[in-house]
């Protein structure tokens, strides 16, 4: 068994106090190894998105240990967590979260700016990433000039451009119709298989989860099912 890339041990995340206390995560143990394509499923309020945010260092756990590539994240300060996101993580959100009035190219360049990359190299990398998601010729379109599926491709390109170790996708197809959803899933599956990119994806659609190599099911803040899936399922 290889070293885990992500390891969660007894992770808890509570909201509110006393009587109104909600245990969104109630003791989650999870190991993700390099090259896995993990799908997290579960009913609304089961804590799957919360777990995703903690894995992405966008949120902090109330208790438990989270090791990223062997490093205890709780020991990192805000700026160090920002650096971890900058160099190792790429995000794809349900709502795309692109900067408005900003071209696709500039959106994809954004993480590269914070990496301190020079303009010429940034543009080259961003164009390459947009080409990888099939958006050649749309570099100068702003989000409002792109369809939902295209916007999500821009978001994927932005996540890819920084060459992360892990891509985190929170309901990436939640706002898309079936045809676009299938296109996005095929793209993610290709990235996983061809480039060996580790992907953690939250979804509530079984059809989408079927593209993953491993399925984890959350209920009431706990992992209730964790199984490898057959090659080429569906």
């Amino acid at each position: 068994m290889s070293e885990p890339l992500l390891e969660l041990r007894g992770i808890e995340r509570h909201y509110g106090h006393d009587e109104t206390l909600v245990r969104a995560l109630d003791g989650v143990d999870l190991r993700v190894e390099p090259g896995e394509f993990l799908a997290i499923m579960g009913p609304s309020g089961s804590g799957k998105s919360t777990a995703m945010n903690i894995i992405g260092c966008l949120d902090r756990p109330t208790a438990g240990n989270y090791l990223f590539n062997g490093v205890e994240v709780a020991t990192l300060n805000r700026d160090q967590r920002a650096l971890l996101r900058r160099h190792y993580l790429g995000f794809v959100f349900q709502g795309y979260n692109l900067l408005p009035r900003t071209t696709a190219l500039e959106n994809v360049e954004l993480p590269l700016i914070y990496k301190g990359m020079r303009k010429a190299e940034r543009v080259a990398r961003a164009r390459q990433a947009l080409a990888r998601v099939g958006l050649e010729g749309r570099e100068d379109h702003t989000p409002s000039q792109l369809s939902g599926g295209q916007q999500q491709r821009v978001a994927i390109a932005r996540a890819l451009a920084g060459e992360p170790m892990v891509m985190l996708a929170d309901e990436p197809t939640g706002n898309l119709d079936t045809k676009r959803s299938v296109e996005i899933m095929n793209l993610m599956q290709d990235l996983n298989r061809e480039s060996g990119l580790t992907i953690v994806m939250v979804t509530h659609e079984e059809d989408m989860a079927a593209y993953a190599s491993r399925l984890v099911v959350f209920t009431d803040g706990r992992v209730v099912r964790d199984e490898k899936m057959h090659e080429g399922a569906l």
């Binding site: 945010n53 992405g56 260092c57 966008l58 949120d59 902090r60 805000r78 700026d79 920002a82 650096l83 996101r85 900058r86 160099h87 993580l89 995000f91 959100f93 979260n97 692109l98 900067l99 408005p100 009035r101 900003t102 500039e106 954004l110 993480p111 700016i113 914070y114 990496k115 301190g116 932005r158 920084g162």
Partner: protein, 401 residues
Amino acid sequence: MLWETIRLALTAIIRNALRSFLTVLGVVIGVAAVIAMVTVGQGSSEQVSANVESLGTNVLVLRSGARMMGPGSRDTAPSFKLSDAEALEDLSSLSAVAPVVSTSATAVFGNNNRTTSITGTTSPYLEIGGWTIALGRSFTPAEDRSGANLCIIGETVRTTLFGATDPTGEKIRIKSISCEVIGVLKSKGAGSFGQDQDDLVLMPVRTVQRRLMGSQDVSSISLQVARTASVERATSDIEALMRERRRIAIGEDDDFSVFDMAELSSMLNSVNSVLTGLLSSVAAVSLLVGGIGIMNIMLVSVTERTREIGIRLSVGAQAHQVLMQFLVEAVVLSVLGGIIGILFGLGLAYVAAQIMAIPFSPSLNVIALAFGFSAVVGMVFGYFPARRAARLDPIDALHYQ
């Protein structure tokens, strides 16, 4: 990285053109309003002070009629005669006395004419009124007493009738008389109420009395208090002399009044300072409105900006990098607005000063104050919401509604 941050900030300013424009506009309005209003107020205040000086110091004016007269009461008081002015010359507390007879008439030279004010007086009038001769000469003592057809003209009359040519020795016609121009008065410019002080013709008092008025009356007597005497003493000397000459019994009120020009000018000054105060408060309100405008734009955009901050944090920006970007944005917008506002405000004040014929006197303090206030408002409301957002966990910033 700093250069990168400035570039990010400039890109954001251009990308959010409407928001940037409105922010800049808020600063411009605030700064321009304050600068224009206060500059105009100060200019008119200076103008009044200059007028006070041009009125001459220690000048008194003696008029017939009680000071607080009701309608028609003036008619009952007898007018002064030249003999009254001559009597006043003997008072040691006065250094100059000039009887004044005023009327208005049309002065004609060739094809040019101008309706102007005609003042019949004597040469001490020039000293009392602070006039100097620009060209030619004043009346001689003999001419003061004579009824000679001579005149000294103001700059405005000279320009209208003679253009650029030398008028001395020429003869102008006023009503039925033809009088020789012996001098031109040096220009005084506009008066306290914006009136043209140079629009006048001076003639010997008797000439005006006989040839234009057909009467022996004197409208008023201008007096200059001697250096060695106080205004109060001169006033009481004048009052005593006049009561005696006009045979006013003890216990009866004066049927004449002595006006102190310094008193008049201090009254003008206080009216002016009230006006300046009014303008300043209007300006302060504009500044406040501008500030609220900036504040609103900044606060309205908090939702969008908080999401933007969430996005930036999620792709790996550190809080201080995001803050620096927002601070640079706020500074650039505030400074840009401030500079435009200063130029605009000074421009407005300059135009107003030209129209109102007052001095253009910008004050560095006011410029600094207006600029500082708007800049601080712009920066505070641009920076603090951003700081709050940058301190959130990225997920809270992303989900901010």
